[in-house]
Amino acid sequence: MMKRRQAVERISLILGGALSPQLTAALMGQVINQGGSIQITEAQEALLAEVADVIIPTTDTPGAKAAGAEQFIIRVLRDCYELKDQETFYTGLAKIDEASQKAHGKAFVDLSPEQKIEIMTDATKTNKAFFKQMKQFTQVGYFTSEIGATQALEYLPVPGKFEGDAPLQPGQKAWAISR
């Protein structure tokens, strides 16, 4: 995948190198409306992955970041949500970083695991709407990812039969496709 900076450079080339500061900023992923979608920065993407990974962390199975849950979230927001809802979401995301800077003088991604949990716990109170939406997104993004579905859950693409009453085996995980 082409990195955003390379893409911007390529566009600069096409346009003859004379980009306005505003357009450069826009292409670099500041909040702008492009066909109804917010283009997000690499930094926002990294923050999103980190927040998702606090919601569903690596345990005996890989967590949300390893599963690429943030890519699902970015895609759904970009293609399925109205611009104002995208703005609300990314404003909520930015508040996570603001809270980190205020409390620890660091970006969220640079915090220790304990500090991340502290900021997220705080967010359940001070940034509740964002937290709930982010949790829902992460849950779906993770458990429908290949890692989530096949490692954290039991993936059974073609059951071949149906039994409505079967004992739950010790340690048996929930079905990845449950309906």
């Binding site: 109804g36 606090v54 919601i55 569903i56 962390p57 345990t59 199975t61 967590g63 699902f72 895609r75 759904v76 293609d79 399925c80 949500y81 109205e82 949990i117 997220m120 359940t124 509740k128 937290f131 709930k132 949790k135 849950q139 779906v140 458990f143 429908t144 990812s145 290949e146 579905a149 954290a152 859950l153 993936y155 059974l156 693409p157 073609v158 059951p159 071949g160 039969k161 149906f162 039994e163 409505g164 009453d165 079967a166 004992p167 739950l168 048996q172 995980k173 929930a174 079905w175 990845a176 496709i177 449950s178 309906r179």
Partner: protein, 571 residues
């Protein structure tokens, strides 16, 4: 030049034209081709090859881009379809672009139009129940609308006939209000459903809970194997299209049967503008068609026409078929065409949770639910409304989609969601609606769609009888669940608009009298005997059961009659 015209007409002439390729059109094509007729099946939607074109059928969850959600673009192109779940990421390409023919709603109507060969037989719910004499006699007994011109005995052998080919899984109960089908083995019930069934039998004699009767092959017999179908794999992704041909659809079942005769010509992208009527012979001569892609117009000719375009589309075609003889639409001497529009009303019921039994689970995904046949206004039961409802629903254990402790996150959340949740169970009613004359559709002649055809206008609503019935749906569901031991039982009424159940029916009803109905007892247009309407448009009342099986049986019956009439030179 005249010779050329004759040659061109010959090339465009068939024994029969079937308009539509869904459940009804597929059956018409199968029956007529198997009886030796050269058949042209016209479908306004695009090609959809069996298996090869089922894009999402074998996709893993992580291969879906949005976990089923629609994109903004998909919502914009079909804003009315986007109001409900059947139009989703996996099926989006199967449905129509509302923007190409934006229908008018004097009152809300959800019109689910497909855009593919096979029609809604690809995305349908597959529940199959017979009507009974309680249904066929209802209008006459209640003194409303008109009497059905047929009774159960007239359709019974045709139910058997279509069931043996389609393959219906279910359990025989021997109930007068819900006659048994020719059944393949019933599917299993979930643990919780078996528990609830036991308690219902004890607490509510007369209310029977059974496994859903469904057009999925619990076992493939010779009739099904013969057209290349296999048994159900219990993936429950039917509406994406089944790569195993395990449920009945045009593509899996009737189309291969019709095609194997060598008598079928299938023409997708073909929008029927009108049926052409000859006042001298007092018969239709054929249809005029617009190619949906090229806009090219042409005419096809035939001895008989089967109109199976789906309830609303079939009636719209008849309404648009205007001539000096039929200024209000083909066959509309009675003025009833477009009236008596019905659907089922649903989405009212109750659900609850079951405590314990967390050491029990299940295997596979059953593409089916449970069914409680109608018990209201049957025998000695008398309510303050007419007719009744059946319950559909079921139980299962919650999956990872559930909400656990709202503000939890981290390892605890993850661990909780990797385990199955509680057992839950719910019932939702499917209720009969009455054939109100004022519930109607019409054409907006000043409002042409992309192809220059007038758009449809809907003016229909549910009324007091339905509203009263919904109270019983909620309360009965709740009392049955509570008495069966479910906890935290809550009723729901998520509202239901005409069309939402996708069981739209009526608008060209069958009847005994040409002054008050459009079709006779053989689904023949009273005043144009070689035109047959055998889809939902023909229905005189709607019972409370899913109707597709009845469309199949009526279509096979009408096809048999039509061919006999042709043999007798009556058509």
């Amino acid at each position: 030049m005249p010779n050329l015209n004759i040659e061109a007409k010959k090339a465009n002439t068939y024994d029969a034209i079937v308009i539509g390729s869904g459940v009804s059109g597929g059956w018409a094509a199968k029956e007529l081709t198997e009886k030796g007729l050269k058949v042209l099946m016209l479908e306004r939607g695009k090609k959809l090859h069996h298996v090869a074109d089922y894009e999402y059928a074998m996709k893993a969850p992580w291969e879906k881009k949005y976990n089923g959600q629609l994109t903004r673009e998909q919502k914009e192109r079909s804003p009315k379809l986007a109001r409900d779940y059947p139009y989703n990421e996996m099926t989006a390409n199967y449905w129509f672009r509302d923007q190409d023919s934006m229908y008018v709603e004097k009152k809300r109507f959800d019109w689910y139009r497909p855009d593919i060969v096979g029609g809604k037989s690809i995305m349908w719910g597959r529940q199959c129940y017979r009507f009974s004499d309680i249904d066929f006699e209802a209008n006459a007994k209640d003194g409303i609308a008109v009497d059905w011109p047929i009774r159960y005995k007239d359709i019974e052998p045709w139910y058997s006939y279509v069931e043996k080919f389609a393959g219906i899984s279910g359990e025989a109960l021997g109930l007068p209000q819900l006659p048994d089908s020719e059944f393949l083995p019933p599917m299993d019930m979930f643990f919780i459903e078996k528990e609830v069934r036991k308690r219902l039998e004890k607490n509510f004699p007369g209310r029977n809970m059974t496994i859903g009767r469904v057009a999925n092959l619990s076992k493939a017999g010779e009739a099904q194997l013969g057209v290349g179908r296999g048994p159900c794999m219990y993936r429950n992704q039917c509406s994406y299209g089944c790569p195993f041909g395990a449920y009945f659809s045009t593509q899996s079942s009737t189309l291969p049967a019709a095609a194997s005769t060598g008598n079928l010509t299938l023409r997708p992208d073909s929008i029927v503008r009108e049926i052409v009527y000859d006042p001298e012979t007092r018969k239709a001569t054929g249809v005029s068609v617009i190619d949906s892609q090229t806009m090219e117009e042409r005419e096809f000719f035939s001895k008989i026409v089967f109109v199976c375009a789906s309830t609303v589309a079939s009636t719209a075609i008849l309404m648009n078929s205007v001539s000096d003889r039929f200024p209000k639409g083909l066959g509309n001497d009675s003025g009833e065409l477009g009236h008596n529009l019905m659907d089922h009303h649903f989405r009212a019921g109750a659900r609850g949770n079951w405590e314990g039994d967390l050491d029990r689970y299940y295997y596979g995904r059953r593409a089916n639910g449970i069914y409680i046949p109608r018990y209201r206004n049957i025998g000695d039961d008398k309510r303050d409304y007419l007719r009744g409802f059946g319950f559909q629903g079921g139980g299962s254990r919650q999956g990872w989609e559930r909400n656990v402790a709202e503000l939890s996150f981290g390892k605890d959340l993850k661990d909780a969601l990797t385990e199955p949740g509680e057992w839950t169970m719910g019932f939702g009613g499917f209720g009969e609606t009455l054939p109100y004359h004022d519930n109607q559709m019409s054409l907006d002649k000043d409002n042409p769609d992309k192809w220059g055809i007038p758009v449809v206008v809907f003016d229909a609503e549910f009324r007091e009888n339905e509203r009263l019935m919904r109270e019983d749906m909620k309360n009965d569901a709740a009392e049955m669940l509570e008495s069966s031991g479910l906890k935290n039982v809550k009723t729901f009424d998520n509202e239901s608009y005409p069309g939402t159940a996708i069981h739209e029916m009526g608008t060209a009803r069958m009847g005994r009298d040409s002054k008050t109905s459009v079709l006779n007892k053989h689904n023949q247009v009273h005043a144009a005997k070689n035109v047959f309407v055998t889809d939902g448009a023909c229905m005189t009342s709607v019972a409370c059961v899913n109707p597709s099986l009845t469309f199949m049986a009526l279509t096979a019956r009408a096809a048999d009659f039509a061919v006999e009439e042709m043999k007798k030179q009556n058509l």
